[in-house]
Symmetry: C2
Subunit: 195 residues, 2 copies
Amino acid sequence: MTAQQTCGAAADGNRRAELVRAAARLFRDRGYDGTSIRDIADAVGMRSGSPFYHFKSKQEILAAVMEEGLLSCLPAVEGIVAGALPPRQKFRALLRAHLETVLAEGHDFIPVLLYDWRALSPERRAGIVALRDRYDRVWQAVLTELQRAGMVKSDSKVARLLLMGAINFSIQWYQPGRGCTLDELADEAAGMFLL
Amino acid sequence: MTAQQTCGAAADGNRRAELVRAAARLFRDRGYDGTSIRDIADAVGMRSGSPFYHFKSKQEILAAVMEEGLLSCLPAVEGIVAGALPPRQKFRALLRAHLETVLAEGHDFIPVLLYDWRALSPERRAGIVALRDRYDRVWQAVLTELQRAGMVKSDSKVARLLLMGAINFSIQWYQPGRGCTLDELADEAAGMFLL
DNA sequence: CCTACCGATCGGTAGG
DNA sequence: CCTACCGATCGGTAGG
């Protein structure tokens, strides 16, 4: 009985997780407004009304994509900043991790966060902002370390926003398998911003 | 007769231009998919069917926003690159002009180009890409001048894309009248990318 | 999780 | 450029 309940809950969780994953993929490709509940249901082999057994609304699916995307990548980057690497390697590791999160195939969650932010209803934003802030603090900490080591001109907030923007905007032009690898891109970005 | 025809044509052109301007504003605020033809018609005091007297489809309005946005800012930036300023000032002037285009209040056209690109149908993209390429060539030329003057590490295409991304992404976080002015932002960006 | 459905809204058109 | 309208699609729900 306990086993069956656990199994049932796990199966429910899996279906829910499937929906979030499918939604992330579709939102990334077509945008939130360009994706219908029916598209998401089709992608996991459900009927059009069934996603509402798992989520109260389409907005709740969007929030889940953003929240789970951040929760799944925060441990890695917070591990990097807490680690003992010298500043330059720390920066390079963070850069590389972020590029992976944003550009690697199958990584759809953070791009949705970045490019469908305005589609998220104002009431749902606060919770996600709290997680974004954790992510931003990691970057700020690493930039401050770099600055103290004399390896970068500025660790101002604006400098950080410009740097992160340079990388985040690469979603718009980077094509996996064409042009350069993620490692080469990380090198170019690092070389550009370090003294 | 000629005067009346001209006047009639001008009035038509004005109504069309009004629609494009209203659409740009709405697309920037709510996205292409989040804006209905009725929203656009309302904004200029027309009934819902009337925009189709000026445009064949909603897609044609989007293409007009992007095309007119590029056509109206290209002369200024092409003037900068063709001018006689030394490399550093040329770069600074280009940076400043681009920030204006992208962040100043009432400048909605280029943000739509940057953030609703995927909403533009593939058939309509080629024409806009040709104009974008002209814009990109201006930047590339200025970066090459900078590099020859030994003022920047790299004038590779990737370096240019990262730099332009840093600025373009500022639409997502910059708030006019809060934090810093466009001039200060231009200084910070220039200081960051110059040796 | 499916069936069957609802009201609202969408882009677009015919005819004037 | 308006009136009046169309078929399609949307997010969401009741009842099982």
